[in-house]
Amino acid sequence: MNLPSEFVPSYYRILPEIIMTIFGVIIMMADGMIAPKNSRRSLGWIAVLGTLLATAASVWQLGLAPGVGYSGTVQTDAFSVFFHLLICGIVLVSLLVSLDATKAATEDMGAYYALVVFGAVGMLLMTSAVELLLVFVGLEISSISTYILAGFRKKTGKSPEAAIKYFLLGSFATAFFLYGVALTFGATGTTRIADIASLLPHSSTPSLTWIALGMIVIGLGFKVSAAPFQVWTPDVYEGAPSPVVGLMSTAPKAAAFAVLLRITYDAFSTLHAHWTVLLWIMAALSMTIGNLGALRQQSVKRMLAYSSIAHAGYLLVAFTALSRDGIAAASFYTVSYAAMNVGIFAVVSHVGGYDDRLTLVQDFRGLGYKAPVLTGALAFFLISLIGIPFTGGFFGKFYVFTAALHAGIVWLAIIGLVNSGIAAYYYLRLLVAVYAKPIENSGVMAVPAISWTLAVALALTVGATLVLGIAPGKVLGMAQSGATTLLPAAPPNSGPDSTSPPALAVNR
């Protein structure tokens, strides 16, 4: 199987995307053949099968010689495989949660599963694309499917509202991104990431490249819900069905962060003095706005929306470190955040139900008395979100802030860690509520028993969060080899005596 890079067939490079596309088409066609009244659960299982096969294909891609396909538009390397596995994992768990949460609702579930699968195709493509136009195509595929999924509960008021808001602001953001791509082309004459990097220093219009970079960062900032582009997040998360929120708060963000890493560290590495300032400000704002906003929320989903803004901020701290450790820390953080956030939305969607019966923090009061296992999982995810050691959340923050402090970024690290102290308050409110005595006629008494699909989903997410907190070495190693492909000529490891931050190697 060890073909030299130039003999690897191009379709090997996008095998997981091909598999997912085929399964998406199968689901759509099968949906038409099932009588309207019958259950669509089997389609969910087809989607699960497709995701498993795509995961296997991604692992298989590791054995390929790293390289590009389709005339240099897609690339498989340790970095893309890392995010492929992450996205497939998220989609898999989200499908299991959907199978649990949507038992009663049979409306158009065929389309639902097809959209999840097609959205995954877009996200996977984003992480392996090394051509900005293809990145844009991936971004559109994933965005459009999430717009529709956000509005999937057509009969409620909030869900269509969420979808419209998400669609308007999201397409605005994509337009920014596309404009940035166009300006990049104007400045350098290419949209290929590797070529941009080599042509950028020779561009005759440096100011144009700065604007292009700014546009691209704004566009992606919307997608990862970093402040000041975060306003859509709480409304959309509140309105969208919970299993969908678990998916869309993690997978598209992971893909967008992967793109942002590739674009900043690879294409625009020579402009790092500019984008680090931008990202520094975005990180500080996101952490502060996210956490302060979350303090006042009564709705669990809105609180988690603000928390996801804050977590995007922590993640951006790692970008400013300008080192391989920073890239590895950012990649690791996406994994640990995905594990705990998908997990907590699995619990929230089971407790709240598909139709959001229980939405407020005080509605969760006394859950520990009705469903001890579910509450235990919820408590564990909350502890991980707070960042208590022996959970994935701790090592996510640990690596991010170690990288930042090692690069001499002291103030942002202090802002971040003080923020994580504040954040403890709103997570604790939920934690304390679930373990408090239930009130009379509490809604939590109607929470159904755990189905085995949900049990598998919880086992996967709790297990992942625990493993990341006790033995993070393996995942960190993968993140580091991914980082090496982005920043191969990393500076020699700065010794204990070096006082200057390790500079980004710019030797193209």
Partner: protein
């Protein structure tokens, strides 16, 4: 072989116990019995340490060092010296007492209660044995979680509020503490306590004086909140009055005092000496303030909270005198304070089980109804106010005498605390146990101590006496442990003189 693995065993026994509790059926007293067995066994394990401790051997013993995470290098490095050894045994001793005190008091959610109770044990043992800063930080933070959840679950009425208050009070300083640890790592390239200590001692140029000053402050702040040192005691009253007995017993004091000794004094000797005058002043104020506030409390548990603040301030006073007698006195005082305080909590808990009240005014003439309990309560009270031949006296005497040598003014102020503690405790005893029977005591007929309660309390009472008369048994290890802290390193002296 056992010597190498004993510390790991001490941590693993309650952890395994907690996991098994998670799978036990909620039936009868099965979970209680099992947890009691686990805590007794782990207490036995901790007794291995004093039995096999090598006196006259500097450095850490029972050490184990393995790489936990390769990059950045974090070790599973554990070890014990004279500072931590008796604290580990103390933790082991208090665990079965906590189970016995909760036996009937905790009726609902027993599985959760004992699961988190054992997890709390794991965290406390972990704090005392960890010699890697990140490992230590892990256990330090972990100790917050079971405490907060149990306060929320089994609080009296405002449990949720108290839990959040406790958590935020200790978690926010811990965030700065983590920044400080990472900043240390950025220059020393290690998290290992022993190596960090060596590097800080041998390479004074590693950090600028200002940077090291802020790092040492971040350490001290996190620890001082946990002790708590006046004026950082805001959480103490609420937590004491809300927390279930078994948790209130262990929430304050020893983790913070130990961490100050182990990390603040040992890693930053020069900075600790610089801030010592402030800490001594705060300790003296804390002693008097705590006592005065305790004097006017109407709630028994709040009274105990401020008594504890006052009592713990003796430890702070002793530590920052940097005299050998003050340091070992402080360490001994935290042992006796924990035992006496635990006994007091158990006694208050069993009064609450009988009368459902902590209100001093509702009690009166209790001695006529519960004579046996009154005896135990008096013994504990006398130990708490520092009567000679009981354990409380030793620590108070040593810390006060060394405090007096360092600063006459603060020494004098602190000594008035002894008189005040006698007044608030004895006045409380007089109001609760003597005088005419109050309507509540008159109305309710209650049994005197049960066998289980006697088994809990009598050993503790005997221990208070033994620790009071033959304290040298404990000081053998303690003196060795604190000796390096009392002697000022040569490099530090030169450094200070240069300033």
């Amino acid at each position: 072989v056992l010597d190498d693995l004993i510390l790991t065993l001490i941590v693993l026994v309650p952890l395994a116990g907690a996991i098994i509790v998670g799978f036990l059926p909620r039936k009868g007293k099965l979970i209680q019995g099992f947890t009691l067995a686990v805590t007794l066994f782990s207490f036995l394990c901790t007794l291995h340490l004093p039995a096999h401790f090598h006196y006259g051997h500097t450095g850490f013993q029972f050490e184990q060092d393995a790489i936990w995470i390769a990059n950045p290098e974090i070790h599973y490095h554990v070890g014990v010296d004279g500072i931590s050894m008796w604290l580990i045994v103390l933790t082991g001793l208090l665990a079965p007492l906590g189970v016995l005190a909760s036996w009937n008091a905790i009726e609902t959610r027993t599985k959760e209660f004992y699961f988190f109770f054992l997890l709390q044990q794991v965290a406390m043992y972990g704090v005392f044995i960890s010699l890697d800063l990140i490992l230590y930080y892990g256990f330090w933070e972990l100790s917050l979680v079971p405490m907060a959840i149990l306060i929320a679950m089994h609080g009296r009425s405002q449990g949720g509020r108290a839990a959040i208050k406790f958590f935020i009070y200790t978690f926010v300083p811990s965030a700065l503490f983590l920044v400080a640890i990472l900043a240390l790592y950025a220059r020393t390239q290690t998290f290992d306590f022993v190596l960090v200590q060596q590097k800080l001692g041998s390479q004074p140029g590693l950090f600028g004086p200002q940077a090291l000053w802020f790092i040492s402050l971040a350490f001290l702040f996190a620890f001082a909140v946990k002790v708590p040192v006046f004026p950082l005691h805001g959480w103490l009253g609420d937590v004491f009055s809300e927390a279930p007995t078994a948790m209130a017993m262990v929430v304050s004091g020893k983790l913070g005092i130990y961490s100050i000794l182990r990390f603040h004094l040992a890693l930053f000797p020069a900075q600790a000496r610089q801030i010592a005058p402030l800490m001594i002043a705060l300790a003296a104020i804390g002693i008097v303030y705590g006592a005065l506030v305790a004097l006017v409390q109407k709630d028994l548990k709040r009274l105990l909270a401020f008594a504890t603040l006052s009592s713990l301030s003796f430890c702070t006073l002793g530590i920052y005198t940097f005299a050998a007698s003050g340091l070992s006195g402080a360490l001994f005082h935290i042992l006796s304070e924990s035992i006496t305080g635990a006994a007091m909590f158990i006694l208050l808990g069993l009064m609450y089980e009988r009368y459902s009240s902590y209100d001093i005014h509702q009690y009166g003439g209790l001695a006529s109804r519960m004579p046996r309990m009154t005896v135990l309560f008096l013994v504990t009270t006398l130990s708490l106010i520092g009567l000679p031949i009981l354990t409380g006296f030793v620590g108070e005497f040593l810390t006060l005498s060394s405090g007096f040598q360092v600063n006459h003014l603060y020494g004098t102020i602190a000594t008035t605390g002894v008189i005040l503690s006698a007044s608030y405790m004895l006045w409380m005893v007089q109001r609760v146990f003597y005088g005419a029977n109050s309507p509540m005591v008159e109305r309710t007929t209650v049994p005197d101590l049960f066998l289980r309660e006697k088994l809990t309390l009598w050993p503790v009472a005997v221990l208070m006496l033994v620790m009071g008369v033959s304290s040298t048994l404990w000081f053998r290890a303690i003196d060795e442990g604190i000796a390096p802290l009392a002697t000022q390193p040569a490099a530090t002296t030169a450094h200070l003189e240069a300033r």
